[in-house]
């Protein structure tokens, strides 16, 4: 299973973390520090796997961003590497050629999308189309609620005029 997902920039800034195994706050920071040290220092033509504390970390760099997933030793590394790419493709489709800034200012979106992709550290959906459909349905729900709220507040505003 995937124990955690970590998005970290080349400068070591964390852009997303998701923990499927229980880590206390302190351990989380330690893991992030340790792993970014290992991964950011790796050269470009090396393999995408790092052995770390009895686990394996599968990572891939996209522009300035490293996507990392920590898995068990006996898990299938390439499968997870392609889950990363699958996630990136979905982000790309959603934002329209995604860049780091999109993920900084819309980090909540990145979380929503990840939740449609993984649950319990396992792949939930392998169709990009399906994920996109669900996310856009969610967006619509939120928009609808907002319109409703604003129309109510309009009514109140007018009533109290």
């Amino acid at each position: 299973m995937i124990h955690f997902v970590l998005l970290v920039s080349r400068q070591g800034k964390v852009r997303l973390t998701k923990w499927y195994s229980p880590y206390a706050q302190k351990e989380r920071s330690k893991v992030i520090r340790e792993l970014s040290g290992v991964i950011l220092n790796r050269g470009p033509k090396l393999c995408n796997f790092v052995e770390w504390r009895g686990y394996k970390v599968v990572y891939k760099r996209y522009a300035s961003l490293y996507f990392c997933m920590c898995i068990d030793q006996e898990d299938n590394e390439l499968e997870v590497l392609e889950i990363i790419h699958h996630y990136v493709e979905i982000l790309d489709r959603y934002f329209g050629s995604v860049c780091e800034l999109d993920l900084i200012f819309n980090f909540h979106k990145a979380y929503y999308i990840l939740d449609e992709l993984l649950i319990a550290g396992e792949l939930q959906e392998s169709s990009k189309k399906t994920v996109a459909r669900i996310i856009s349905a969610q967006d619509q729900l939120v928009e609808a609620a907002k319109e409703e709220a604003s129309s109510i507040s309009n009514i109140i505003a007018q009533a109290t005029k």
């Binding site: 964390v14 973390t17 880590y23 220092n41 470009p44 090396l46 319990a120 392998s126 399906t130």
Partner: protein, 1005 residues
């Protein structure tokens, strides 16, 4: 979520922060703001609450501790409207983990959402439980989640989430699913047409069968059917193909599930499966598209595992081995890594060892790969495939690699080499050679077990004794030998040195002299061994040598009052005994043979192998313990260098206490690891006694800078003895500490130049590696060993530097906190067949993070007075200063960017100076210093340093001191070599003494 302006503004603010300090201020402000708003419930609209909760998550992500507001996040879960509820669920599942108390408060709301009719709410609730649900959730929610999963009225959207949610609940509490009732349902689920639900359900199945395969045997043919459906690409919707491959993930999962069934009995199922597997094995080609390639190979490697597990017929097995043989020789690193990994697993299958051996040279090449992940796999595979036939080759490769291997791998390497040497030694003298070489090359990583074992072998094999003694004598001629080498050679020469008596340089008195030279540098536990050796030498001296007797008696006399009881007792007893003639001979007679016993190392290795089982999955699981044996505490390959003290491999390895004990004890000062970081990489050549006794933090650190200056040069010269270094490395380093460009290293083949730019706490260095020759330099490797306070990122250097070419490699430096430790560049290359390596200190020293600043007296004195005393302001009288006239001294200070502020101090013999220091933890911080000189005695002065940070003050003071004392004048040690700490400082490890053969001997007395 458009229109959440406050959140975007906050994120922009954070991004605009110039440094960590500003960021912290902004975050603190925001947290204060949020806290106030949360207190005032009345004005807290759901929108605001939502916004604040997102901000909290963002702050949490930045790494700050958010210790409030969890309740608010959890309370949003029960909001009636979707937007708030969604935020509540997502933020809660990010901020909290399953052990958090608040989570229990939410169970009821979550359950209501799960059993309610609102599909979107069901999804949110299932996702939360699937991601952070704990045991409590498992107990109360499992039946509801099961219902959703099998419900015909639920859409796939909900059911796939229910499947994974149930998987989590099952992991948390296996009783959550009753196999009897569930097995049939599970089998039905595998008939699912929707591939999203099917993928999730197959994950659930993998977990269930790994726990109890018998109950789920009806699922086995279904898995094979799924594979057939996918592999033949029958009615798989377009959106479920990934780069043209029908859901590779589902294929992998189905094959994984099959590996938990011990065997496949039904012949037709077996036949269908083998057809599919055959198709995968034969039909996977390397294509250009990376993702397609990865996906198809993910499937292929899973198929390989399944084939191994099923113990297929020989033909298919040899197909697999052939494939793996191809993989380990490709360039693509992922495939090579996986090839090596799977070949190691393949070793468990009988009959293929001989085929694997054919690839030995290829595997050895991978041992030298630039990628540590690949090197580790190669090492494991070599270790696994070693037997009597190839032990000599493999162990010699490992030994050769040991000299260039990075520190994080040396422990594992030396242990593996030692085990293989013992297990498969073709003859014992070879074994002795290997172990002595190991101690010589990586003494720090050779546990006591290993040298005790050599002593045992030598004692029990008479033929071996003269050989071992002469070998031990040879190593003593080396200038710097590891303390373990002192121990083992002292012991062997004490017992068998007399066998060499006729050889030149081997008389008792000569042996004594050369051993006694080593005594001042060894730690306390080694001294008793040396004393025993002296006693034995004295006894063996033929004819009796009164001169030697006098010398040895003097040593015994000296240690008679030693505070260490063991040493004292031996000294007293040997002294008395040595006057007793015959009795002396009796007591010190040759040690009897040891009872034959199994090596503790091998015993452990075998325990792991004995439990071998048929299941490939189990075999896989065993690989972990076998690694664990070797590397008790997998070393963080992170920024931090490997720990200096390596826990012994004996029984205590798995005991975390023993590891903790061997760590330096912080003295409550902010920088307990002053030395370990800097000396870590260099300690190999230095006597560990020196290092360990000086790990006392700042108090014991007085001698540190000199120690560094002196000993850092030694390993460099030692390691590059194949080439003549041009210029003095230490001198070059010191020069570069004060300027930003110049030559760092030069030999006949290569010149390494450096150019640096510094801004605040960041720096950018460029290494220029120039090949001076007309033939290429190959296997160029650079590795940065960073101290804990620097974050370093070195861009990779190409493997080969063409003739007469120069390559540039930028190195980004970020200063996290004040420290004088220095980063080390471990650098090596091949010229022809010649391997050259060097460890070079990188001039990213403390002063590089200083910025000159000129203060007026109005600015200086109020600040000076506000720093009242220790720990913010420290004063010290420095003696042994190189005499300098005041203007010269001012120039020196300015050269490391501590600006002299002229005219501020009324006393003309004094100087005051100021500077700004930059680091991530301190931000920009002003440092002040005052130097009071004595015109009558220029070799001493009083130095006072102050700043707003105690560590900074201490480090800067020490740094200035180093500059005043060791004016960069080259390698000449200006201060006496570090004297061994008084024996009192060395805590004696009683366990070590009990196992030490010398102690056994003492016990006989």
């Amino acid at each position: 979520m458009t229109g959440m302006r406050g959140l975007s503004v906050f994120i922009s603010d954070i991004r605009n922060c110039q440094n960590k300090e500003a960021e912290r201020l902004r975050v603190d402000k925001e947290l204060g703001n949020i806290r106030t708003c949360f207190k005032n419930e009345k004005v807290l609209t759901p929108y605001k609450k939502k916004k604040y909760v997102w901000k909290m998550l963002y702050i949490h992500m930045l790494g700050y501790d958010v210790d409030f507001g969890h309740m608010e996040a959890v309370s949003l879960i029960s909001a009636p409207k979707y937007p708030e509820k969604q935020v509540g669920y997502i933020v809660t599942s990010c901020l909290l983990n399953e052990n958090h108390d608040f989570l229990r408060l939410a169970i009821n709301t979550v359950r209501n959402d799960i059993i309610g009719r609102n599909e979107t709410f069901q999804c949110l609730a299932l996702t939360l439980v699937g991601n952070i649900g704990g045991r409590d959730f498992a107990e109360s929610l499992a039946p509801d989640v099961q219902k959703l999963l099998i419900s015909s009225s639920c859409r796939p959207l909900v059911r796939k989430k229910a499947a994974l949610c149930l998987l989590r609940l099952f992991r948390k509490n296996p009783d959550a699913i009753n196999a009897d009732g569930w097995a049939d349902r599970m089998a039905q689920l595998l008939d699912e047409r929707d591939l999203g639900v099917l993928t999730s359900s197959t994950s659930l199945l993998v977990s269930l069968v790994s726990n109890n395969h018998e109950a789920y045997s009806s699922c086995l043919p279904k898995c094979v059917k799924i594979l057939e459906r996918l592999a033949r690409n029958q009615d798989v919707p377009q959106e479920y193909t990934y780069y043209g491959i029908p859901s590779p993930w589902l294929q992998v999962k189905a094959m994984r599930a099959l590996q938990y069934f011990p065997t496949i009995e039904d012949p037709s199922t077996r036949k269908s499966l083998f057809e599919v597997l055959q198709r995968i094995l034969m039909g996977t080609d390397v294509v250009k598209n990376v993702n397609k390639n990865n996906a198809s190979h993910a499937v292929l490697f899973e198929a390989l595992s399944l084939v191994m597990h099923l113990d297929a017929e020989k033909e298919m097995m040899s197909q697999c081995v052939a494939l793996l043989g191809k993989f380990i020789s490709v360039r693509e690193p992922n495939i090579r890594y996986l090839g090596l990994e799977n070949m190691t697993r393949m070793l468990m299958v009988t009959d293929v060892q001989d085929i694997i051996k054919k690839h030995q040279s290829q595997i050895i090449t991978s041992l030298k790969d630039p990628d540590i992940s690949i090197r580790r796999r190669a090492l494991d595979l070599l270790y696994g495939m070693c037997d009597v036939s190839n032990a000599k080759d493999i162990v010699e490769e490992l030994l050769q690699y040991l000299s260039t291997a990075e520190f994080s791998m040396r422990e594992e390497l030396s242990l593996k080499a030692a085990i293989l040497a013992e297990k498969f030694a073709p003859d014992l003298s070879w074994y002795v050679d290997v172990i002595l070489q190991l101690i010589d090359k990586a003494g720090d990583f050779v546990s006591d077990d290993i040298w005790f074992r050599v002593v045992q072998f030598v004692t029990n094999n008479e033929d071996l004794q003269p050989y071992a003694a002469s070998k031990a004598r040879e190593y003593l001629d080396k200038t710097a030998i590891h303390e373990t080498m002192v121990k083992v050679s002292a012991y062997i020469l004490g017992e068998y040195g007399h066998l060499l008596a006729r050889q030149p340089g081997c008389s008792a008195s000569e042996l004594f002299n050369i051993l006694h030279e080593k005594l001042p540098r060894v730690s306390t536990p080694t001294i008793p061994i040396l004393l025993s050796t002296y006693a034995k030498l004295l006894m063996h001296a033929q004819p009796p040598d009164p001169e030697l007797e006098k010398k040895i008696w003097a040593v015994f006399k000296k240690y008679e009052s030693c505070i260490d009881v063991e040493i004292q007792q031996r000294a007293v007893e040997y002294f008395e005994l040595s006057k007793k003639g015959a009795a002396f001979m009796d007591v010190l007679a040759e040690m009897p043979k040891f009872p034959e016993r199994q090596s503790s190392l091998i015993k452990k290795a075998e325990e792991v192998e004995d439990t071998a089982d048929q299941s490939a999955i189990k075999l896989r699981a065993q690989q972990q313990p076998s690694n664990a044996l070797v590397l008790a505490d997998p070393q963080p390959v992170s920024g931090a260098p490997p720990p200096l003290k390596v826990p012994s491999v004996s029984g205590s390895t798995q005991n975390p206490e023993s590891v903790a004990r061997s760590l330096p004890q912080p003295n409550g000062t902010p920088s307990p690891d002053l030395l370990s970081d800097l000396l870590g990489p260099l300690a190999i050549e230095a006597s560990p006694g020196d290092v360990s006794t000086e790990q006392h933090g700042p108090i014991g650190a007085e001698g540190v800078p000199e120690e560094v200056g002196g000993s850092a040069i030694v390993p460099v010269e030692e390691q590059t003895n194949t080439v003549e270094v041009i210029g003095n490395i230490a001198e070059r380093f010191h020069a570069l500490c004060l300027k930003d460009s110049g030559v760092l290293y030069e030999d006949p083949y290569i010149q390494i130049g450096i150019k640096a730019e510094w801004r605040g706490h960041q720096g950018r260095l460029v290494l220029f590696l120039g090949n001076k020759n007309t033939s290429p330099l190959t296997s160029v490797q650079t590795l940065i060993l960073p101290p804990a306070h620097l974050r370093l990122e070195l861009s990779p250097v190409p493997d080969t530097i063409p003739p007469r070419a120069q390559v540039q490699s930028p190195l980004e430096v970020m200063n996290i906190r004040p420290s004088r430790d220095v980063a080390v560049l471990d650098f090596s290359y091949m010229f022809g067949t010649k391997l050259v390596s060097a460890k070079l200190r990188i001039p990213a020293t403390l002063n590089k993070f200083l910025q000159p600043i000129q203060l007026t007296s109005e600015e200086f004195f109020p600040q000076w007075r506000s720093l009242s005393g220790p720990p913010l302001k420290l004063q010290e009288v420095v003696r042994g200063v190189r005499p300098l006239a005041l203007p010269e001294m001012a120039t020196l200070f300015n050269s490391f960017r501590v600006t002299i502020c002229p005219g501020l101090d009324p006393n003309p013999n004094n100087l005051v100076a100021s500077s700004t220091f930059y680091s991530e933890s301190t931000g920009a911080m002003i440092c002040l210093a005052r130097i009071e000189t004595d015109p009558a005695d220029r070799t001493q002065l009083r130095l006072t340093v102050g700043s707003g940070d105690p560590t900074l003050t201490f480090e800067l003071k020490e740094f200035i001191k180093e500059q005043l004392i060791t004016i960069p004048m080259g390698s000449r040690a200006l201060v006496p070599a570090p004297t061994p700490a008084p024996p009192v400082a060395q805590p004696l490890s009683p366990a070590a003494l009990a196992d030490d053969p010398g102690a056994l001997l003492a016990g006989l007395l």
